[in-house]
């Protein structure tokens, strides 16, 4: 099968859906002529024009607010917030409006929109450009939260997101945009709430998201040679969350490591750990170990950012604790 990048997969989904459905449009900063910071919307401005690829003022509140309004007006907006780090600037629109309108209005109206944004530390951009605070969105009921780790998942999940009538937060990861993978040319969807067992194994379960999926897979490969068989599961959507697939794996391996790049405290690794500690306690042989960004800001300086980003090293340490 043809191989394309994560960024191309996202682009392909947006393009396809715009072609198919007149009501799908994009708005955000530098998504038009510039094509987005990571090329995900490149050439769409040329193809569809400003109306449907709307470069906006530097106004995150307006970007999300207007997307909500446009959704209420019958469109299917795809707002882009350049970095997740800027979502605190429009958090009221996300938390108090986008997530709540359908509920507060007693189901009278839908808010179909896909807020695309970018997370992860990369390239030494310091504390305000390296965050992954999507636990804010997981902690906010009413949102769908999607974290694709491969080009295949990115395209399939974005197709599902654009078709869905709920407000979706679609989290892209900086370090994955240029990663490549097999992606069918035709249209396909991936259901929300369906984890993907990226690799089967018997001795230990690692639940990992985004870039950490790849770290976990690489490590599993290495450890296979040493005789340790690791199962790697990617939840793919954090809300809704597929507990069953993880439970089944823990039933088999009796050991769990959770790896997610959001910050440790009240982060996604903690949430997954808590679910398993509550519902699968009797199947656990060992403590649940979390791998996450430390309770610290991402620093600028190279050795510090390198120390900050959780990866294979941290996974190894975690494994040492349970094996």
């Amino acid at each position: 099968m043809r191989t394309i990048t994560y960024s191309e997969a996202i682009h392909e989904s947006i393009d396809y859906n715009m072609e198919k459905d007149e009501t799908v449009f994009n708005l955000g900063e530098d998504i038009g002529v510039l094509g987005g910071g990571f090329r995900a919307t490149h050439d769409l401005y040329e193809k569809y024009g400003r109306k449907r690829v709307l470069d906006t003022p530097l106004s995150e509140i307006a970007i999300v607010g207007a997307a909500i309004g446009a959704a209420l007006g019958g469109l299917r907006p795809i707002p882009e917030i350049m970095y997740i780090d800027f979502t605190p600037g429009c958090m009221d629109m996300i938390v108090n409006q986008m997530a709540k309108i359908h509920f507060m209005f007693g189901g009278q109206i839908k808010v179909p929109m896909v807020l695309r944004t970018v997370c992860g530390a990369a390239g030494y951009n310091a504390a305000q450009h390296s965050q992954s605070m999507y636990p804010f969105f997981v902690h906010t009921p009413g949102l769908i939260v999607v974290t694709p780790s491969t080009p295949y998942d990115a395209k399939g999940l974005l197709n599902t997101s654009i078709a869905d009538d709920n407000p979706v937060i679609f989290m892209e990861h900086k370090r994955l945009y240029t990663s490549k993978g097999e992606v069918p040319e035709e249209f396909y969807t991936i259901p929300f709430g369906k984890a993907d067992v990226k690799r089967e194994g018997d001795d230990l379960t690692i639940v990992a998201t985004h870039a950490l999926v790849h770290d976990a897979l690489a490590l599993a490969e290495e450890m296979e040679k040493e005789g340790t068989s690791i199962e790697v599961i990617d939840p793919r959507t954090l809300v809704p969350f597929d507990k069953e697939t993880i439970f089944k794996s823990v039933e088999k391996t009796n050991k769990l490591i959770v790896a997610d790049e959001s910050i440790l405290s009240c982060g996604m690794a903690s949430e997954i750990s808590a679910i398993v500690a509550e519902e699968m306690f009797d199947y656990l042989d060992k403590p649940i170990i979390r791998v996450a960004s430390p309770n610290c800001h991402c620093p600028f300086s190279m050795p510090l950012e390198d120390a900050y980003i959780p990866g294979k090293e941290e996974l190894k340490e975690a494994i040492a604790k349970v094996l």
């Binding site: 109306k51 509140i61 207007a66 309004g69 629109m93 108090n96 209005f105 007693g106």
Partner: protein, 321 residues
Amino acid sequence: MKISNDDKIKMLWEMMRIRQFEERAGELYVAGIITGALHASNGQEAVPVGVIMNLKEDDYLQSSHRGHGHVLAKGGEFKPMMAELFGKITGYCKGRGGSMHFAYVEKNILGTNGIVGGGIPIAAGVGYSIVYKGTNQMVACFLGDGAANTGAFHEGINFAAVVNAPVLFVIENNQWAISVPRKWSDRLVDLSKRAAAYGILGETVDGNDVLAVYEAANKAVKEIRAGNGPVLLECKTYRWKGHHAGEPASLQYRDPKEVEAWLKKCPIKKLEKALLEEKIISEAEIEEMTKKIEQELDEAVEFAKKSPLPEAASLHDHLYV
């Protein structure tokens, strides 16, 4: 500007409906029958009525926390509104929203909002959807003088201006944001001056004179429907009651003399007087209107009382589609 007698009577009727609804809701609150956060608009009735009389059925409304009047003027009905205040499943929002989240989507009423300023960028986006679809609709977005100091105001109106969204932003300037007076909120005399910051038209009008509001809004609506983008209309008015139903109107922060002076500028009395003088209406007819509304309110309260509360088990309903 020529306004027909029928329209004038309709204005009176609409203002009376709002006033009486607010009074009834206030009574129910004080009696402990309804609860939650209730922001009454007594004294401000000319603004929603004067503005919304210029809208068409399929135009949109985006309202604020003090939104009963907007919803009523746009076609909100007593029964489902009252039921919503009672938290009943027959309410517009099935009891999930209450006063701060009144929405009636069938009439393109896109909700009151508990976040001050929160509706402004949303209105801009609804406006963009109109541009996008090329329909001849528009949006009326109501906000308070306090809301004019939020980031959402700035970003929302500027966005609307840039994309030429057909939105009439109406500042209901009642001089106070809860206990904070205008002089501690901004340095301006007229908040409509802010229109210049977005390159759009702005105007200030006596918000207690429904005919003046109607005329100003009419001009603005023409401008907007002509495709020239948003307009900012400031209506100067006053809140008669406490900030919310639980706050006595007499609370220390406002000078009683100020309150009294504004009570004398009742928008309903003002229109009544004019209509009586012009013999467009009689005292008896007004009396009859009042009674009719009271009766409708009685029925609405009865309806609300009899309607069922939601089941606890339905807590998660409407969270996702």
